[in-house]
Structure formats: C-alpha cells, structure tokens
C-alpha cells in the first residue's frame, strides 16, 4: 500500500473514532442537560443512567474501533492512535519514516471527525457537550490524570500486543477484543480523565472547542504523556515477558 492510501485510511479511521466515540459523550451530556446532578463529581454523564452512561459511551467506542480495525486494518494497520504508532516504532515494528505522516493523519482525521459531528448536531455540541473533549474530573489532579491515562493505555497496548502483534495470537479476534477492551477501560477511567487513551482523540475536540472559545489546552499534555508512556511501557514489557 502506498503511503497516501495508508494516510487516508488513518485519517478516515480516526475521524470515525472521534465522530462516534466522542460524539456519544456529547449526546449523553445533551440528553442530561437539565438533569439534577447528585454531586460535583458527576458532570452530567451518569446523571440519568449512572455507570450505564459510561457503559453506553464505552460500547460506542468499542463498536467503532472494531469496525475500523476490521475494515481498514489491512490498509494502514488502523492504529488511529499516535500512542499505538509510537509504541510500535519504539519496539522496532514500525518504520520511523512513517511515524510523522501517521500522526499527522490521525490528528487531522480527529479534527475532521469532531467538525463533522458539530455540523450534524449544531453549536450545542460544543456549548453543552464540549465536543466530548476529555479533561480531569473534579478532584482529580494533573498527576493523577496522567497516571490514570497511562494505566488505561497500558492495558490497551498490552492487549494489542497479545491479540494482534504476537504471531502466536489467534487470528480474527483483534478488532472485537481491542474494541471491547477500550469499552471496559472507559467504564472505569471515564469519570476520572474522560479515558482518552489517545492524543488524537483529545486533539480533535480541543480544536473544535477552541473555535467556540472553550480552551482546554492546558490539559493536553496529560493526554500525550500518559498514553505514550503507558503504550510504550506495555509494548516493552510484553516483549520481555513473551520473549524466550
């Protein structure tokens, strides 16, 4: 496959991830717009359905990730996440020359996905739903947020290594297992950091929010440092554990 085709596949895949994944968080917030919130830890997601709200968002992510992996996995590898691309590069499984173009495609795709969602829903997607952007929840410190993102992405990358990268893995299960893993992680970490696990997934909504005067960029390093540290750590650990 040419780099142009792979670039487009990463762009489309990440756009779909943000449209449906982050979009599901926007819809949840819009549905709960005037609902009573039982405490300040509850920002609206969970106001109506409790932890079920996070399960719903997790399932939206799970299904779109599975769909993208099964449809575009053979074209670009369907990383749709700079942390995954960097972890594969760090373990010498991905060429350094392709890392930059892949990350550019993922960031551009995430922005396009978020913008398309805004066009479909209107400005309330930003003013009420914040475009599904991720930020630490009330009472969560910067350091705690980085740690939570690192742990979540560690689990994601460990599963990618075991179910997809390892040649001994059973074929055909990668999309389903990885999608459901992300869904499960979101149920727990969602109400801590938003459970991004992916710098691009945070970048797209931040760009669109910025156009409406919502500035969350001070939190962006959380979603770069945490996911990359977690993913690289998991890939290195897996190689050590699974090697002879």
């Amino acid at each position: 496959m040419t780099l142009v085709k792979r670039f487009l596949a990463e762009l489309v895949g990440t756009a779909l991830l943000v449209f449906f994944g982050a979009g599901s968080a926007v819809i949840t917030l819009m549905i709960a717009r005037n609902a009573a919130r039982p405490n300040e830890f509850n920002i609206g997601i969970g106001a109506l359905g409790g932890i079920g709200d996070w399960l719903g968002i997790g399932m939206a992510f799970a299904l779109i990730i599975a769909a993208v992996i099964y449809s575009l996995g053979r074209v670009s590898g369907a990383h749709i996440n700079p942390a995954v691309t960097i972890a594969l590069w760090a373990t010498k499984r991905f060429p350094a020359s392709d890392v930059g173009p892949y990350i550019m495609a993922q960031l551009t795709g995430a922005t396009i996905g978020s913008a398309l969602f805004l066009i479909c829903v209107g400005s309330d997607a930003a003013f009420v739903g914040g475009m599904g952007a991720t930020a630490p929840f009330p009472g969560i410190s910067y350091g705690q947020a980085i740690l939570a993102e690192a742990i979540g992405t560690f689990v994601l990358m460990l599963v990618i290594m075991g179910i997809a990268v390892d040649e001994r893995a059973p074929p055909g299960f990668a999309g389903l297992v990885i999608g459901l893993t992300v869904g499960g992680i979101i149920v727990t970490i969602g109400n801590i950091t938003g459970s991004s696990l992916n710098p691009a997934r945070t970048f797209g909504p931040y760009v669109v929010d910025s156009m409406y005067g919502i500035n969350l960029w001070q939190f962006f390093p959380i979603y770069v440092i945490g996911p990359i540290a977690g993913a690289v750590g998991a890939a290195l650990l897996y190689d050590y554990l699974a090697g002879e």
């Binding site: 496959m1 792979r6 992996i69 996995g73 053979r74 074209v75 670009s76 590898g77 369907a78 990383h79 995954v84 594969l88 499984r93 991905f94 990618i160 997809a164 990268v165 074929p171 990668a174 999309g175």
Partner: protein, 69 residues
C-alpha cells in the same frame, strides 16, 4: 499416473500434475497453472504484497468452478 480427463474421453495420456483441489492427475492439456498473489499483514500492520507469487495448478474443471465464483 494417467490423465483422468483423457481417460474419461477414451484416451491414454500421462499425467504431468495433480489438481490441488480435487487431486486428479492431469496432462498439460487439462491443467491451468496460475500465479496467485500473496498478501501478508493485518492489524496493526499494513498488508503488503509479497514479491513472489505462489504458483497453483488446477484441473480445467476446478478452474471453471473457481472462475464462476
């Protein structure tokens, strides 16, 4: 081994290959040899076409079935 299709037609001709699908011995007239492209790679690695294709021999009957899809 004799060519099965020739034998059915009342001819006696030596087989030069075996169909990979039905196992029939076939002569040069009744075989189809094709190079099949091979792709390797799946999530999270892009698929790439291998430099060398894999040769495949079918009898004309199995080849027709494959062509029909």
């Amino acid at each position: 081994m004799k060519c099965y299709i020739c034998a059915e037609q009342g001819r006696d001709r030596e087989a030069v290959a075996i169909c990979i699908v039905c196992g029939m011995g076939v002569c040069m007239e009744h075989l189809v040899r094709k190079d099949v492209e091979l792709w390797r790679g799946d999530y999270p690695f892009p698929a790439r076409k291998l430099k060398k294709a894999i040769p495949r021999i079918l009898c004309v009957i199995c080849n027709e079935a494959y062509e029909e899809g």
